[in-house]
Symmetry: D2
Subunit: 349 residues, 4 copies
Amino acid sequence: MPSVAVVGAAGFAGALCAAIVERHPSLDLVAVTARSDAGLRLDQLYPRHRVSLELEAFDADRVAERAEAALVAYPHGAAAPVVAQLRERGLKVVDLSADFRLERVRYEAAYGPHAAPALLGASVYGLPEIGHREAVRGADLVAGPGCYPTAALLALWPLREVAADAVVDAKSGVSGAGREATGTTHFVSVAENVNAYKVEGHRHRAELDQELAGRGFPVTFTPHLLPIDQGLLASCYVTPKHALSAADVRELFLDAYAGEPFVELVESPPGVRDVRETNLCRVCATVEPATGRVLAFAAIDNLWKGAASQAVQDLNLMLGLREEEGLGAVATTGTPAPVRAARTEEVPS
Amino acid sequence: MPSVAVVGAAGFAGALCAAIVERHPSLDLVAVTARSDAGLRLDQLYPRHRVSLELEAFDADRVAERAEAALVAYPHGAAAPVVAQLRERGLKVVDLSADFRLERVRYEAAYGPHAAPALLGASVYGLPEIGHREAVRGADLVAGPGCYPTAALLALWPLREVAADAVVDAKSGVSGAGREATGTTHFVSVAENVNAYKVEGHRHRAELDQELAGRGFPVTFTPHLLPIDQGLLASCYVTPKHALSAADVRELFLDAYAGEPFVELVESPPGVRDVRETNLCRVCATVEPATGRVLAFAAIDNLWKGAASQAVQDLNLMLGLREEEGLGAVATTGTPAPVRAARTEEVPS
Amino acid sequence: MPSVAVVGAAGFAGALCAAIVERHPSLDLVAVTARSDAGLRLDQLYPRHRVSLELEAFDADRVAERAEAALVAYPHGAAAPVVAQLRERGLKVVDLSADFRLERVRYEAAYGPHAAPALLGASVYGLPEIGHREAVRGADLVAGPGCYPTAALLALWPLREVAADAVVDAKSGVSGAGREATGTTHFVSVAENVNAYKVEGHRHRAELDQELAGRGFPVTFTPHLLPIDQGLLASCYVTPKHALSAADVRELFLDAYAGEPFVELVESPPGVRDVRETNLCRVCATVEPATGRVLAFAAIDNLWKGAASQAVQDLNLMLGLREEEGLGAVATTGTPAPVRAARTEEVPS
Amino acid sequence: MPSVAVVGAAGFAGALCAAIVERHPSLDLVAVTARSDAGLRLDQLYPRHRVSLELEAFDADRVAERAEAALVAYPHGAAAPVVAQLRERGLKVVDLSADFRLERVRYEAAYGPHAAPALLGASVYGLPEIGHREAVRGADLVAGPGCYPTAALLALWPLREVAADAVVDAKSGVSGAGREATGTTHFVSVAENVNAYKVEGHRHRAELDQELAGRGFPVTFTPHLLPIDQGLLASCYVTPKHALSAADVRELFLDAYAGEPFVELVESPPGVRDVRETNLCRVCATVEPATGRVLAFAAIDNLWKGAASQAVQDLNLMLGLREEEGLGAVATTGTPAPVRAARTEEVPS
């Protein structure tokens, strides 16, 4: 059974990686590391995850002695050197930061100089559903996509050939901002509030641009912060190159996602609550009658499909395991769920 | 001092109308009516509003004996006959429903046959900031705009001549759905959730179309439900006909709203919490560097500027009072507030 | 593999029963019934549970043809006749209502005449941890305890011999009020609010009185409604008959719960979030230095340990399965978890 | 018109003090100071308060040049030296910290050495409703009570002669923890959670003990943190020395609070939402039929009556103004409001 270390397990995404790996029937969690919480048991920080391993200070050799693979959940910039050390010691790595998601020129434009540029070419973008599955299977280093790009790309991918332009209005829960306590994550700032942020350009845009590159349509991307802990909704508004019917759109999405274990096509706009604590992305696409615009909504749990569980999905592929293993609920593809009876009433009218 | 009745004061918007009128220094609240809660004191239903008047069953004659003006907060369809009775008795009326917002053909396409079509021509759309101020001043019947159109129109109005198309992604708190308990307004449906709804066409679109009519640009409009009680944010994405700089855009907004007492131009995206329980609309407009799209965000309190306080703003104008009277906080126009220091930290990255 | 039906699967607790049974490795979910939602698939009402069975109208014969056991999640009063029909047909039953929790005289004092009094004597109170485990094992009919009594009894049980009196201040999330949309469960009533209710006497008190009967100490019980969806905290204040040290109290709790798979003793007051979506009850007991009072806090998920998962725990015992089977996280007994590092900061001071 | 400075206006309570003073018809806000945010305008930190004064670094002389009185909202310990400087310069002061609430021996037991012990004897405890009104009127230095003691004392005061013991289970919103971002105030720690804290002894207990001193009954006090921003509920359970009827209890509360402008006696348990953003304390007291215990619930807004608006109430008295001036809603005493129709439905049952 492959042995796995989680490096950076004291943050929200890393801790969840540890919890998922520990319950995974075909993976063995052998080490969890932390930068400032070493010495604590993980369940002291995160009682719900119920992982009782003690957090260690990171030491590449000690990790490599025990683990064949690692999930790295460090902040952007801090991840690259650690990943390099682990790769040198032969571990397969899924990195959850932005450090290996982008081509070098895109990375440096968004984040500045890269700490391990030699590895950039070897990395695969870990969103299997948009054409990267085979590359992930063969990879030794996979970059887990950002939470926003995961949802936005899953909404836009089936439309990539027909889109003239796209607006992505994305909304995330607070856990996406990480464990650090700041004015922004203070309960009193968030409760009963919603606002856009980083309108001058969020760095996740670079991922959208890269993955849709060559498709030749401009994408507007604006993130918003919501008073929820977990959940992310990408509401996408696409002007088609030529008129499309709702049936055309449905066809595009069925073609793109038939058989996908973690994409669930539904007939009414998904709520993030419906995918909470799953690796699922729930997608609804339709055409606005009044304008002919294509509307596509993708809901994920930002910590799961947007981070930790998607990293395990990638790791499953890299290790030759079944893609769905250890990840719980799986989509019922090909059978879009009908409208939810509990949500048909009137809303702000 | 003008005497005012609130008809339909047991709902969220009507109750708030009563509270604002009661504290208004130049208005006299003389009656509150309700359809099914008659006999209760208003503060039994809404302790926070602290209006101790008893709710009466509606009787047009009894209302007309005491009141010169009325705010009517009935559901769509139910309002028109009541408004007609009050107008026959000479009362000035602000109606908060959709019944008098639209030209007849637009109304009937969205809502079906109209109960008092003769009055439609006499009604003025009560959004003073978009060119209706003088008409409201002279009107006997004003239609309070919908909550979504209020925010969306205030964001789009300065761009009306330069827009090639627009996407409005709007997000509302639950109070917009009204006091009725439904599956949609159940706490458990809303908490930790967000979803789009009525993607096939919300009836508020007709207001946007009417008020922007002749401008010749298509508007996509999609409402979302948020886990907050009060607050509404319209995030608007406008493709300009020709390239605009951020300075151009700022100029357009300053021109449109200089001196407006209830529109506050700010330099970073507004949060709905910043305007909670005020008649203010806080607006931020900028240009997305990567695409040249104009982004305009408008935040209101859906029950205040989106309903009750805006109705009192209209009533002030109709009665020759100062527009700001009894409405609390007023914008500091011409001096866009700088970035809020408390909100500069990192968010979902 | 035992076949199980869930009767009343359209409510919050019933739907969760169905989800837990469906994922249970040693139970086979064969039918789900509903009173007013028959014909819908369960996942149309509850997408998160991902149970695709179709809800049927209840028919005792049709259920008995397929199922050896049933979980009944009907409202109080409505449950008894249905349980009687299922028992007549030989099914083992766990009933989640109050109908079989109480001795007849207590039941009728709190709820009125009983519809199936003959069955009352055959029923076992399904809280294994307070001395009922063996009785549950041998039972054909088990009454799932109320959510409030579950937490309160687990906090008070170890103190039953030493208590002179007790105050239970209990706080529950909104899901405890059920799926019905009412003024009380409206998001706008609950958000940013907290209040006590039923101070004149909640019917759950009868369970506390019965289970602590003969102990001769009076219990004050007051429920409160919180703005959370799931979670219940019982804060218990016990005057001891004679002075107890913190070590004495810890001893009592260790004695009572050593080896219990679902009771987790911790050293700092538990948060309901720590047990969310688990069958665990997290308990902390200590002595207030200033007064010598014993403080005992018990946190559960009201829909899990307070209803659905506890019903499956009972069913496991009744069917001779391992008590923990299909119920996920299990307590690490005997090793009270230390203080959570993430919660040591200052709070309202 | 008296001129007022707010010292420490960058925190939650200080900023609200500034907002209330600025809108006060008989007070003139002349300066606001801050320790680390000097140079910012207050409305950059707190847009909702709409106070556009610039925050200055504190300088006692510069404050004294302009202000006759000051509200000081510094943390415990930091307040005393600042208050001493202002008193030396002749300003009347209301201090919101704990520094002047307690007799010296109690203070030093709870907080350690005091920085300005000479002033302790001159300070008056600023809860006018429990017998301190005349002393506050004549005082030059008033200590604003803690948020928890404000609610608890208002619930317990009428029972002081009849109580044998008392349990106070108190629940506060997150704003009580202040503006500092910590693990405890992180949205993700608070959402969907509730927990007790400081069970070993919260320092607010010393205030309870002092104000109820000589009454000879022990008080258990346990604070809890709730997922709301503003609001505090004290649920008090009092064993009476001798049997009391509900009518007896009502009489005690009417005697204690008849004519009080900010205490509102109600007949059903108050919700904190009912007093949000007011200086009101809403109190309900009754007798539990099953045990004879007296239950008393007091709801306040922790930032208003629990801090900022109560400080202005004290300042009004000290300056010879009408106690209610500038403080908005006032209680309708002598007429307990009946049960709220909107809250009669079933709740967790």
